[in-house]
């Protein structure tokens, strides 16, 4: 909700980058909305906050399709508040909270609970609802009830819906609701027990592996179900060259599918598991260099529509277990943008497309987030210094958890300011509340 008595904000000296292109311009924000975009703007108000954007890109705020905020139920790992602060520091103005909480987000009441917690958060918090009750894969969750509260994305993330007939029914049922079903693609019977990518490294390290085909089987199945039902499908965190090729072909054939990839799948490989540090355990697992190259190619050619963090906080003690007993997942909200700028050989506009307006569209947030910077648009923005070099230091992160695999890594590109509904929630890399 726009705060009507807040001071004006002037973002001065930057280059506006949005879906329509890029141009040097100042941005004036008043009453939660963009009041003017143009050269040499004047604040016009003595109390106005001026944010320096020299050398920076001024962009629609980033949108994360895949965040585990852990609340309710796992508050020792993350809360809506701490997770949203991490998001704001990462340039996000909106995140989609995944439903694998305790209790899971599989009913209107839990949706309301999380949305209520999000009211005071440092970014907009939307939720993804579960496709099945308890994410158990046996009975449809009340999707219409949740959709009535604004839920646009449904998934059993953490697991895929294993039963093909149930998934078909879910797609058919959802087609009346103007929502998108998102799948964590993993055939459990083939993946069973896997602790890392199955291949050269799992064989050498003596860890049970999950073959790439466990993901590809379900991607293939869901493409068939998408064809059968005509309902859009979004593929979460695709990690294999084979999956990306399947989606590429499906898009060429005109199927209504979208797909995302996580930063760790274009920056790390299964060889990173060699030291047995469970910080490198994630699901889908880190794959081979060939898969990393395929993810990068998919992001470059439009096969993959979005970079999504799969931010998955875990308390330190959970990650100090034996590798095969540690939970999968890594934090990612505060490093995604830097990793994308550092590791992807793409222009800043293409990177922002993957991090902002394309995911905003998949999340059904267009008009609120990811929109071009024009007069009257909601002021959900971030200001990025694409040349700033910094070292990743997990102990200083805003997330409650420390399971970051990039400690000590040098990244280029960082968020300077984040503006949520006109309020500067991050100024010069510091959260304001």
């Amino acid at each position: 909700m726009p705060s009507t008595d807040s001071p004006d904000v002037l973002i001065r000296g930057g280059t506006v980058v949005d879906e329509t292109g890029s141009r040097p311009a100042d941005v004036l924000i008043r009453d939660g909305a963009i009041a003017a975009v143009g050269p040499n703007l004047d604040a016009g108000d003595a109390n106005a906050v001026t944010l320096d954007a020299a050398g920076c890109a001024v962009s629609p705020g980033l949108v994360d399709l895949h965040t585990h905020l852990r609340e309710p139920g796992r508050e020792e790992a993350e809360t809506v508040e701490t997770g949203s602060r991490a998001a704001a520091l990462g340039g996000y103005t909106a995140v989609i909270a995944m439903p694998n909480t305790d209790p899971p987000i599989d009913s209107a009441s839990v949706v309301r609970q999380v949305l209520d917690l999000g009211v005071t958060a440092l970014c907009e918090v939307r939720v993804a609802g579960a496709i099945t009750v308890g994410r158990a894969g046996t009975q449809l969750a009340p999707m219409a009830e949740m959709a009535a509260l604004g839920v646009k994305l449904f998934t059993d993330d953490g697991t895929g819906v294993q039963d093909a007939r149930l998934m078909r029914r879910a797609l058919e049922y959802a087609s009346a609701l103007n929502v998108t079903l998102a799948q964590h693609c993993e055939d459990e019977s083939l993946a069973a027990g896997g602790q890392m990518h199955e291949g050269e490294w799992s064989s050498r390290l003596g860890l049970p592996g999950t073959p790439a085909e466990a993901e590809e089987l379900m991607v293939g199945r869901d493409l068939a179900l998408c064809r059968l039902t005509g309902t859009p499908v979004h593929f979460l965190h695709l990690s294999t060259a084979g999956s990306i090729e399947l989606v590429r072909q499906a898009k060429a054939a005109g199927l209504p599918v979208t797909a995302e990839a996580a930063p760790h799948h274009f920056t790390l490989t299964d060889a990173d598991v060699a030291g047995y540090d469970p910080v490198f355990k994630v699901n889908p697992p880190l794959r081979t260099a060939t898969d990393v190259a395929a993810v990068k190619a998919g992001l470059a050619d439009g096969t993959l529509d979005a970079i999504a963090t799969d931010h998955a906080p875990h308390p330190q003690e959970a990650k100090e277990a034996p590798f095969d007993q540690a939970p999968p997942g890594m934090v990612g909200l505060e490093t995604a943008l830097g990793l994308a700028i550092t590791e992807l050989a793409l222009p800043i506009g293409a990177i922002l497309a993957l991090l902002s307006w394309q995911p905003a569209r998949i999340a059904g947030l267009t008009g609120q987030h990811g929109s071009p910077l024009v007069e009257g648009a909601p002021a959900n923005l971030c200001v990025i210094d694409p040349a700033l070099t910094w070292l990743v230091e997990p102990s200083t992160m805003a997330t409650k958890s420390r399971n970051c695999p990039y400690a000590g890594r040098k990244l280029t590109g960082r968020v300077r300011h984040t503006i949520l509904r006109g309020e500067p929630v991050v100024i010069d890399g510091e959260a304001q509340r």
């Binding site: 799992s202 860890l207 047995y276 277990a321 034996p322 590798f323 095969d324």
Partner: protein, 312 residues
């Protein structure tokens, strides 16, 4: 001779390190044959066994080795410990180390745990006594020593490792050790009991033991876990024995002087026929006997004073 801090993988030693251990072992074999098989080499040192997985044989072998070197020994096993009360692995390791130990001998069902323990340890040495399907370096060292005892050297020998390679920490360490010492290794197993990838393994693969048996100098049989049938890796024990077991008939294909080895415990009648296990060329009990001397050598190498065995 360099003094490594930990023994986690055979690759920590390399060919030269393995030879060092074997030379040291020679001295300790001699000690073990004395009327009073005990030397003061590790007097005042403390060795703790951290066994998160049952293993009477390996634990006793390390304990005997430590005692023969006059070290104090402590024993930590999961059934009697606070791990059952939910203490984390890291807390367990830090608590035990705080008591002042010089070496931790770690056995765990999870691959990689000795690496984690080594990363958390402040000053003590960590010895991998078997981690999941991954490695069992002291087993490989005693296997090398046993072969060397019979054949002087492993250089140029043909060694077949037969059975459940996929789930075997013994096989992973043996392949590395045997090949480092110049032997050529052939893995003989049904495809379901091989690792998904053998890229980078210094070994050949065969599915035909009858074809391999006449050519090898050593046939090393692995224990077959009975639960493999439930995982659809094998149709039946009977079929496994018929195709990959060292049956009496198949043993006749072996060279007269071919050594028969097994890390124990033996499933008589499954991977090896009872009579074959008892043949003169079977060195299975030799392996056990050498295990103590090899572990004495490893303990001495890691936490000994560093001076060259002035102990006898």
């Amino acid at each position: 001779m360099t003094q490594p801090r930990h023994l986690l993988s055979i690759t920590d030693l390399g060919a030269e390190g393995i030879q060092d251990v074997m030379r040291l072992t020679d001295s300790f074999v001699e000690v073990s044959e004395r009327a009073i098989p005990k030397v003061p080499a590790l007097r005042g040192k403390t060795v703790v066994s951290l066994f998160f997985e049952d293993s009477t044989r390996t634990r006793l072998s390390f304990e005997t080795a430590a005692k023969r070197l006059s070290a104090d020994t402590m024993n930590f096993s999961v059934s009697t410990s606070s791990v059952k009360k939910g203490e984390s692995l890291r807390d367990t390791v830090e608590t035990i180390e705080a008591m002042g130990v010089d070496a931790m001998v770690v056995r765990h069902s999870g691959a990689g745990v000795p690496w984690q323990v080594a990363a958390w340890s402040r000053g003590s040495s960590v010895i991998n006594a078997g981690d999941g399907w991954h490695e069992h370096p002291t087993q490989a060292l005693l296997d090398c020593y046993t072969i060397r005892q019979q054949r002087q050297s492993l250089e140029g020998l043909r060694i077949a490792i037969v059975g459940d390679i996929r789930h075997s920490r013994v096989a992973r360490s043996d392949v590395l050790a045997f090949s480092a010492l110049g032997a050529s290794v052939t893995l003989v197993a049904p495809p379901t009991l091989l690792p998904p990838s053998l890229a980078g393994w210094p070994a050949e693969v065969s599915h035909d033991l009858d074809e391999v048996a006449p050519k090898c100098d050593v046939v090393y049989l692995l224990r077959l876990q009975r639960e493999r049938m439930q995982e659809a890796l094998l149709p039946s024990l009977r079929e496994y024995t018929a195709t990959y077991g060292l049956t009496r008939a198949r043993a006749r294909l072996l060279k007269d002087d071919a050594l028969i080895m097994h890390p124990g415990p033996v499933n008589r009648g499954v991977e090896i026929a009872a009579e074959v296990a008892d043949r003169p060329n079977s060195v299975i009990t030799r392996q056990v006997a050498n295990g103590v001397a090899v572990r004495m050598a490893v303990l001495f190498l890691l936490i000994g004073s560093g001076v060259d065995l002035a102990v006898h």
